[in-house]
């Protein structure tokens, strides 16, 4: 496996412009002769499919939900960043670039991040033109807020439903192309494998989730935009269907997997209530703009919050990080909450929670103003917990939320398999070891609207692509494999449900490869995952048939892939003997418990190459160099 990032030369400000000029173009009349498969219709996939269809390519798009509008992007709440500097508060492309590289703890590729910051500006224009109803000021101009610890107000939002509105914009653009016959949409269809012929990605094998039929689709080029893998932890803020299958299968076919251990644990989620829990609900980070986080000063204090006087409260973020206070980045806030709970100061029935208190905000701003800002979130909280956050402080706890790791891609968003491109959360791209709030929506849309439409043309125009169709022997072979796998899952007829295995794997990963990690636990986990996987393949109970709508079978396939992937995440976390961003190794911390990065030995992305079942993967490295943003210790004090 050769890693060539293909970063264009020249100063960082002009790289993308130069590259766009240098890339080959496909003649407009020839575009319709090229076929493109796009798997995933979230922000990244829907924007890519629509934009490429507008250019004239023949696009087929796939998603496992019943409609492309339901991709997990729909759930994003807080907002999307863009370096518009509409607020005249000192923002610029350069500052967004700088913040993103620093926020990622110097583990992202500078050139990509700069392009992301450049594209951010166009994204807002495009979305407004589509009719996305962003929040506005009385004068009619766009409103902004500061988000996730940024010191400028660059976040655009649509109430607490920014992801929904951006996705509906992209979905409508996609729907228009479907209506015009330029995109063929395949909903309720799951990609089970990638087909590589003569070293090029040439298609996919899918299962029709209604009829159960396994079939193939061939194309000149394949784009994966299948989202993140936080559900390996079982409980996460992601939708239930989010999975690693598409990118894991591509990895098994030769795509390098980069930095799988870079996972983000979000600090403000509703704590687990009991065994029945099926997912965790995020409470938007914007709540930290006005809410204050605290725990009692006395360990085990179980008085109701309103009976604990101020002098006996520990506003620990304000205490530890006076400059940023409650607005420190996510990784810092999450670890601080864990530290308090581990030391016995946690609140709520499980003691795995801290308070997020609006008492002072309500006093300062009045209840109606607080309701105007956060009303829908307060309502959601009350619905879930049965507690009224206007009266009693919310209880929150960190939860798995986002995965910075993913398939390795070069500057053109192409993986190590020629013709396989990867967008959005599914690639490893721009966030390094930690993602800043409101930057995932930006990245998904930058990739889909403004990067891939150019770079795909270059690939198609400069690469000889022989004709193949789904009659090719390789398609038949991969189809047979997918079929056989489903049949063997159904044939096990064991005693334990898929969910019970998933819960156990999730628990193992959360305890040992979650918010803080150490060598001994990681080694133990690396041994335990394969044992559990073996038990899964012997004892899982999957009812029903392969030739029918079968949700247990769908889940079983995804969990089987999580079992293989669990080993890779653990290995990567073990290998990276430093703390950086969301990856905290207990052995590598400063005296006051902050992450200690090791730029001498780990200033690189780790890229794993699959070697076959049961064999250790081979490690490659893409060295990172920082010419523009000089690495420093992140400090939020």
């Amino acid at each position: 496996m050769k890693l060539d990032a293909k970063i264009p030369g020249g100063p960082i400000e002009t790289k993308w412009d130069r590259h766009r000029f240098d890339m080959k173009l496909v003649n407009p009349a020839n575009k319709r002769k090229f076929s493109v498969i796009v798997v995933g219709t979230g922000l990244a996939g829907a924007s890519a499919a629509a934009s490429m269809a507008e250019l004239g390519y023949q696009v087929s798009a796939f998603c496992f939900q019943d409609s492309p509008r339901r991709a997990h992007s729909i759930a994003a709440q807080g907002g999307i960043n863009a370096a518009k500097n509409y607020q005249n508060d000192g923002d610029s492309i350069w500052r967004l670039f700088y913040d993103t590289v620093k926020g990622g703890d110097y583990r992202a590729r500078e050139a990509n991040v700069y392009r992301l910051a450049q594209s951010s500006v166009q994204i807002i224009d495009q979305c407004v033109a589509q009719g996305v109803p962003f929040a506005r000021e009385y004068g009619g101009l766009l409103a902004n807020r500061s988000f996730g610890g940024a010191q400028v107000s660059r976040t655009f939002y649509a109430r607490g439903q920014t992801g929904q509105q951006l996705l509906l914009g992209a979905y409508q653009a996609l729907a228009r192309q479907i209506g015009l016959g330029r995109v063929t949409m395949h909903p309720r269809t799951e990609m089970l494998d990638l087909v590589v012929i003569d070293g090029q990605a040439r298609g996919i094998v899918v299962r029709d989730l209604v009829s159960g039929e396994i079939r193939s689709h061939a194309a000149d080029v394949v784009v994966l935009a299948t989202g993140g893998y936080s559900n390996i932890f079982y409980l996460s803020t992601n939708a239930k269907g989010c999975n690693v299958t598409a990118i894991w299968r591509a990895h098994r076919r030769g795509a390098g997997f980069a930095n799988p251990c870079f996972t983000q644990i979000h600090p403000t989620c509703i704590p687990v209530a009991g065994e029945h829990q099926s997912k965790l609900t995020l409470m938007s980070e914007s709540l930290r703009n006005d809410g204050r986080i605290w725990v009692p000063k006395k360990a085990g204090d179980s008085r109701p919050a309103d009976q604990i006087p101020d002098a006996e409260r520990d506003y620990y973020l304000e205490r530890r990080y006076p400059a940023f206070g409650n607005l420190v980045p996510r990784d810092v806030a999450s670890r601080a909450a864990k530290e308090r709970c581990d030391s016995g100061f946690g609140v709520g029935p499980t003691k795995l929670g801290v308070f997020l208190d609006f008492r002072d905000a309500i006093k300062r701003l009045s209840e109606p103003v607080v309701a105007d800002r956060y009303g829908n979130l307060f309502q959601m909280y009350e619905q879930i917990t049965g507690e009224n956050p206007y009266k009693v402080p919310m209880r929150i706890f960190p939860a798995p939320h986002y995965t910075m790791g993913g398939l390795w891609v070069d500057y053109n968003l192409m993986s190590t398999i020629p013709g396989l491109h990867v967008l959005g959360e599914a690639n490893f791209s721009d966030h390094g070891a930690n993602r800043l709030g409101a930057s995932a929506l930006m990245q998904g849309l930058a990739d889909g609207y403004f990067v891939i439409p150019y770079t795909i043309g270059h690939y198609l125009a400069s690469t000889p692509i022989p004709k193949v169709d789904t009659g090719h022997a390789e398609f038949k072979r991969v189809e047979a494999e997918a079929n056989a796998r489903n049949r063997s899952l159904l044939a096990i007829k064991g005693k334990r449900t898929v969910d019970s295995f998933h819960r156990e794997l999730g628990r193992l990963m959360w305890d040992n490869v979650g918010m803080s990690r150490n060598r001994a636990d990681l080694e133990k986990t690396l041994a335990r995952v394969p044992e559990l996987r073996e038990e899964f393949w012997k004892n899982v109970a999957v009812e029903g048939s392969a030739d029918d709508l079968n949700q247990s079978l769908e889940k079983a396939g995804r969990v089987a892939d999580f079992f293989e992937f669990g080993e890779l995440i653990t290995r990567d976390a073990l290998e990276r003997a430093e703390s950086c961003g969301g990856h905290f190794r207990e052995e590598f911390q400063t005296e006051d418990g902050e992450a200690r990065r090791d730029d001498e030995n780990f200033c690189h992305s780790t890229v794993w190459e699959w070697q076959g079942p049961g064999k250790a993967p081979v490690q490659h490295r893409e060295p990172l160099s920082f010419e523009y943003v000089k690495p420093s210790q992140r400090s939020y004090k």
Binding site: C127, L142, A239, H276, F450
Partner: protein, 257 residues
């Protein structure tokens, strides 16, 4: 809690369906309605029986996947709440709960509680968008839009496309869904150039899909988990009338030439 569920089971599109009685035991009042069903399914699977199929994904009330008629109410008894957000503390030990799929000609049952809502996608595909290709937009702040207008557009853009309005309507009409999109785009300046064509096409597609007409029952508004208001339907009707008139005069003009 211990609950008796009467659940609609149907093996496939053309199969005959019927109610099956299942007992849910040890249900935590803190669990959501779908988590209660998860528990039932785990039990069924452990007994070697096929679990109940139902659509769901985000489980936070925003993706529009979950559906379910619960004791005759789409998304259950609470206002402004989807099934995935409904919690079991709303019920009492010993309750019997009847669970059915959405019922409408345009939403055929696929299996058990899962229905085919692709008709909604086809309605959007004929006109529920602004025709603007990527890359052709002007600077976003060149187009000021009053806060009130933006807020009103947002109120209807909040539709999650779940189909509760259709399920609630005695005529299985999709007017609330269509009007939500017509009003979202029709209120904004970006949506003006195609406003009439959009309305005409979406309404025509709605008829083609076999949704019923609106006779002002108002059940849709009551059932909508996003509390989208019925007066959007008046907005749609007005638009539709104008659209029909302008179409007529356009065709007359064309005839003149």
């Amino acid at each position: 809690m211990r609950l008796t569920l009467k659940v609609w089971r149907q093996a496939g599109r053309s199969a005959r369906g019927g109610f099956q009685e299942v007992v849910a035991e040890g249900v935590s009042p803190d669990s959501s309605f779908l988590e209660m069903l998860d528990g039932v399914n785990e039990k069924l699977e452990a007994e070697g029986r096929e679990p109940i199929a139902f659509d769901h994904d985000c489980r936070e009330g925003i993706c529009g996947s979950c559906s379910l008629m619960i004791n005759g109410h789409p998304h259950g008894p609470d206002d402004g709440v989807t099934t995935c957000q409904l919690h079991m503390r709303r019920y009492r030990d010993g309750d019997t709960i009847v669970i059915e799929p959405w019922r409408a000609r345009a939403f055929p049952v696929i299996k058990d509680l899962i229905v085919d809502r692709s008709a909604f996608d086809r309605i959007i595909q004929v006109g529920g968008f602004v025709s603007v290709n990527t890359g052709s937009a002007q600077d976003a702040n060149n187009l000021p839009i009053g806060k009130e207008v933006a807020d009103l557009a947002m109120d209807t853009a909040a539709c999650i496309g779940c189909g509760a309005c259709v399920a609630a309507c005695p005529n299985a009409s999709a007017m609330l869904f269509v009007s939500a999109k017509a009003a979202h785009l029709g209120r904004l300046p970006q949506g003006q150039p195609e406003r009439h064509a959009r309305t005409r096409r979406m309404v025509a597609q709605m008829d083609t899909e076999g949704f019923g007409g609106c006779t002002n029952h108002g059940e849709c508004e009551a059932a909508c988990p996003k509390e989208i208001k019925m007066w959007n339907i008046s907005f749609l009707n007005r638009d539709f009338l104008q659209a029909s008139l302008s179409e007529r005069s356009a065709s007359q003009r064309a005839g003149d030439g």
